[in-house]
Symmetry: C2
Subunit: 306 residues, 2 copies
């Protein structure tokens, strides 16, 4: 028998899966597969089963699934997922535990995908900042969310939503958010926020702002200030040692990174900033670091259970 | 010999001290004393020494100081304190460890006073919400700050400032803060913030707002929204199970508490609020619960070391 731990990263486009050894869960992948996502309850359930079966087949005929961890967008509580729009899941929770338990007699775990990505980034942090095991992973994509690893352990939080900072108010004089509140941070520090006033990509936005386009200048300033605020919030409230920033909006966008860095540097010269600087805690996580599936596998390797 | 653990709470007005038994640190106080605070470096050092000596004398001639924990305002790092304006301490750190080590051969610890208060509130939480060991203590006084106890352990944070949320931006279109930033939360959710536009007490503010005074109505709305935001931030970012609210602005101010509760209830009916409600996680901590000295003693009783 070859026991394997399975990590599944279920996204709007694809279901990615990795198999690792229970004795070396951060070591080399034994196998990796990727399937297209079928949205909806039965599609998600069938997708999990198919991914685990093809992963086990890749490993070989003597593969035995010793545990399965899942990272999935939306609101996750006790193995059930809701409010994952890209997966066709609404307010009604979809309980993934029966599906997972039909595939293994070992431990199973389900977490929000930003939380599993945060766990999965631990290897990168250990290589680049040896000795540090306290950080947030901040994802700036269509939305905005963070996962927290505090003192080496995933902080899912009392409701499983630790790091869900997108709907904290950033500008109480700002516009109404689709959520019903006013001036939420996600209206500024995210791709969907940017698209309120800009129809291109984030790179095109920074180029147009550099060329003096007044709408681009304003939108880029909002985006920059919002991302800097998200970073500062994580540096002050949970007070993590590092903030890893990733996601489609900031990846391959050196001009935006420079703007955010300059903004944080400015704030670090205020009275409060001098006492508790933030800028030197930022790390731009390379997009080719596979964190989602790896973190999902660590959910069941490191003793986190639903 | 009667071994005692000493907890010191150093405030702008008085130095409070408690002696507890190392074998029962949350049990009955063996002695309590209170001295007037003498600000400045030598005043603080002498005040610590005097408080420990008179506490030991209260316990009896065979008292032996087995450990000392200190809660103190300002920025605390490795036993040194800075930026504690009420104590006459500026940017230059005052190292308290030599003074503490001259008074005991046992463990010593220094933490920000809101952090020690958070630790000290654990007994109250255990009595009122049995089984819960995950919470924030939010203090709304002249300033605004929170201390975090996550999964039963004090979360001081990577820089010792976890929960220092007063200078996070709440209204980026707001006024300039003395810190140099714009629209900081402390401009709204604190006594000093209230006094920008109101010269009386917080209770008088709510009375005048109820009577229709337009300045009071506006100031009370700012104060209410700011406190509700601070609570929501703690419910979302570290995602604590409970938020204990205390401090001079909210104590004996039922009208303000009702206004904050109504605001949270409103937000709990938005899309995001329905998924992750906040209002039912709030507890108004009675002001007669002694948390400062008790939490300071727990710093050295529970193995936290500087």
């Amino acid at each position: 028998m070859t026991p394997i731990l399975v990590g599944l990263d279920i996204g709007g486009t694809s279901v990615k899966a990795v198999a690792v050894s229970p004795g070396d869960p951060t070591g080399p992948a034994l196998a990796e597969v990727r399937h297209r996502t079928e949205p909806g309850e039965s599609g998600i359930r069938a997708g999990i089963t198919a991914a685990v079966h093809s992963l086990a087949a890749e490993v070989g005929p003597d593969a035995e699934v010793a545990g399965i961890g899942v990272g999935i967008p939306g609101f996750v509580s006790r193995g059930a997922v809701s409010h994952a729009v890209n997966l066709g899941l609404g307010a009604e929770p979809l309980d993934l535990l029966p599906t997972l338990r039909s595939l293994t007699s070992g431990p199973v775990g389900v977490e929000n995908d930003v939380n599993t990505a945060a766990l999965g980034a631990g290897g990168w942090v250990a290589r680049h900042d040896p000795g540090v095991d306290d950080y947030a992973l901040l994802n700036i994509g269509t939305g905005l969310a963070a996962g927290l690893v505090l003192d080496g352990r995933l902080r899912a939080g009392a409701t499983g939503m630790a790091g869900e900072i997108g709907h904290l108010v950033f500008d109480r004089s700002g516009p109404t958010c689709p959520c019903g509140q006013t001036g939420c941070l996600e209206l500024y520090a995210s791709g969907s926020g940017m698209r309120r006033t800009w129809s291109g990509t984030a790179r095109q936005l920074l180029d147009a702002a550099a060329a003096g386009d007044p709408v681009a200048v304003r939108t880029a300033a909002d985006l920059t200030a919002g991302i800097a605020h998200a970073i500062t919030l994580l540096a002050y409230a949970p007070d993590v040692a590092l903030i890893l920033v990733t996601g489609g909006v900031v990846s391959r966008n050196p001009a935006l990174r420079r703007a955010v860095t300059a903004r944080l540097d400015h704030d670090d010269h205020t009275v409060v900033g001098r006492a508790v600087p933030v800028g030197d805690r930022v790390r731009w996580l390379p997009e080719d670091v596979a964190v989602g599936t790896r973190g999902a596998a660590l959910l069941v390797a490191e003793g986190v259970r639903v």
